[in-house]
Symmetry: C2
Subunit: 157 residues, 2 copies
């Protein structure tokens, strides 16, 4: 596997099964076997920002009977209970991100990797004019470009 540590600014710590269940319960969800597996997979692959399908394939390793519909159901439940965020870049399959700190997403246009950039976007200081009367409750910043690894490779060529 490629070394992608350098480009992942924040990664939630690896968690044990018990801790995963505790998180799910804290969020007000029943910690079923499938939810634990799905959330566990996501926490351990946070850097990859996996798609539902990628999560499904990995979840099957741990729980072969799990179905795609359940993966979607679980992810929806996790999103609704604020344990997970959806990432939408282009019209590609939705990616899932268990990093609930405020952060931006960066897509490397060479290799397709998605990275997290920590920070906060205050609507009023972000550089955009929020016209009077608009109430902004959420912001989402996506950036594109070239990641350090790909930039290096390009320089070499």
């Amino acid at each position: 596997m490629k070394d992608v540590k350098a480009r992942t600014v924040f990664v939630p710590p690896h968690r044990e099964r018990g801790a995963v269940d505790a998180c799910i319960a804290e969020a007000g969800l029943r910690p079923t076997a499938q939810r634990s597996v799905v959330y566990g997979v996501l926490l351990n692959h946070a850097k990859e920002h996996p798609t539902a399908d990628e999560i499904f394939m990995q979840a099957k390793v741990e729980k072969p009977e799990i179905s795609m519909a359940t993966v979607y159901n679980c992810l929806d439940a996790l999103v609704k209970h604020h344990l997970v965020k959806q990432v939408h870049l282009d019209r590609a399959a939705t990616r899932y991100c268990p990093n609930m700190h405020e952060h931006a997403h960066f897509l490397c246009e060479e290799c397709g990797e998605v990275s997290d950039f920590e920070g906060t976007a205050k609507p009023r200081t972000s550089g955009f004019k929020v016209p009077k009367g608009f109430q902004v409750t959420q912001t989402e910043m996506n950036m594109r470009g070239v990641c350090p690894d790909c930039a290096k490779q390009e320089a070499t060529r």
Copy 2:
């Protein structure tokens, strides 16, 4: 139709057929009848940020033989030649935007309307830490909340 003027911060001016063709040609594209219609529809409905399907329905009024595939082809061509931007919010159908000034998009979660907020996002001053080595070439800011009209209605209730 609802009055949505108040929430649209920037709208490209209405353009005549000839001017539309000139724009297309300037961008290095052959101005075919279909492209003119598609781009014309988009310019005259910029506020609505229409989907391909909505553009298709309106384009049919002017050119009944036009096909959906052509609408997609035209939109792709316009995007590649920097006359139009795609807007991706959630996994909903792609919306199209002929406003090529840098701007953010705002989605009203009550009524679903998309508005443009003018401004510029400098990656380094946006509030997010761009780690060393990342080359950012594009940024995209999406905000969500309540638009003035919907906020008013809520206050009344």
